[in-house]
Amino acid sequence: MTVKLPIYMDNHATTQVDPRVLDAMLPYLQGVFGNAASRNHSFGWAAREAVERGREQVADLLGASPKEIVFTSGATESDNLAILGGARFSQKKGKHIITTAIEHKAVLDSCHQLEKEGFEVTYLPVDDQGRVRIEDFQAAIRPDTVLASVMLANNEIGVIEPVAEIGAICREHGILFHIDAVQGLGRIPFSVQSVPCDMVSVSAHKMYGPKGVGALYVRRGRPRVRIEPIIHGGGHERGMRSGTLAVHQIVGLGMAAQVAKEELESGGVDRIRAMRDRMWARLQENLPELYLNGSWEQRLPNNLNISFAYVEGEAMMMAIKDVAVSSGSACTSASLEPSYVLRALGVDVELAHTSIRFGLGRFTTDAEVDYVIDLVTDKVRWLRDMSPLWEMVQEGIDIKSIEWAAH
């Protein structure tokens, strides 16, 4: 079977819009154009109906009530709203926040902003498997801790964090708990019914929906979660997020959420897991000295983050240029620093430079996986042949014993 190039294996960066999502969206770009806030004519009613259906679909994926869903422009805004809005509202109670060193930049930079406003932030380390230790979390709690933010699953290594345990601890201490669930939703089961939490960030484009739309779940139970808005205006979304609702985008997010739930329940995700497992097994058969970054057991079913020792990541990406992946190598970033997530796991800088992230997805085929296994095998051998480090290792030289001149 032939494959069509290029192959997309970067589904943690973004995903392709599912045709079912596109079909649902199109009427709202072609005829139904009303403003959902127009309450006195049929154009507005049609828009409002679509928005409320989208709200139900998102709520259904999360096990929430539609009244708990606030639409945003995407998960970056959701993270900002949860962290800035939650912390600012609660600051009379205290100004301490707990998060982790491996959160997405949208969370970390929101925390940095709060530090400028006088908050103190604890950035928890993770173990060598990429997981937060419950005892570390417990130990970080202070009388003035008002908010905690921990991701459901990491975007680089796909490691699943113990959010249920952390949520239970937060509830016990009356700490607002926010989960950035962007990478996990639709890939692993998640419900606000079983995970104690107050706010959850959702992104459409990470689950086969359109870019530019997301949501924040804000719990309404007792005590009710109160947050300060970060965008001000017409008081939409019960005052939490002003701005005319992007009806077609919300319809897309809603359908993406519905399909994501169906795919989880119908075994679509199991198919992805089987391909991922086969890929890792075959690569290990073909090549020595591969290192998996992060836990194997507690991992999203579509993720592989592998260090191909002695092969620099950017060179590897150029060698497999018909396959879209990403790397934790410094050479692929503007900052020339290797991935902060891999560093937080304690991965050697040397190995961090050689990491490649594969993110399989709903549209990945078996033939594509086979093609990628063969291509990667071939190119790693080629680049290792070219690598002076590989040559030294073959000669029995311990690379760590050499005094390298840093440059």
Partner: protein, 134 residues
Amino acid sequence: MAYSDKLLDHYENPRNMGSMDKNADDVGTGLVGAPACGDVMKLQLLINDDGIIEDAKFKTFGCGSAIASSSLVTEMVKGKSVEFAEQLENGAIAQELALPPVKIHCSVLAEDAIKAALADYRRKQAAKAAANQA
């Protein structure tokens, strides 16, 4: 990153990739860079008694620009005199490959590799001369 055609060509079809006997008297070996920084370059020069670089070989761990820089530099010095190689500056490499600003250090590394290889060659020649006198 958008790279020049010349750079891509050197990366995809590296010239003079390989190794020579690092213990041979007439082979100078330069090993520069560091694994922690993401690039290590090994450059070897086979130099005859007339001071002409008869052959050059490289092995590089590093990004595409590092590989292309080392490939290009072997081409630049092959058949040339030691004096020529000594005066080769990184700017010439960077310009030839149209390296983006964040990759200029790859060309610096290539220049360092030549200097290190020539220094190794001289060290061996001096040791050989000393041994002959003794």
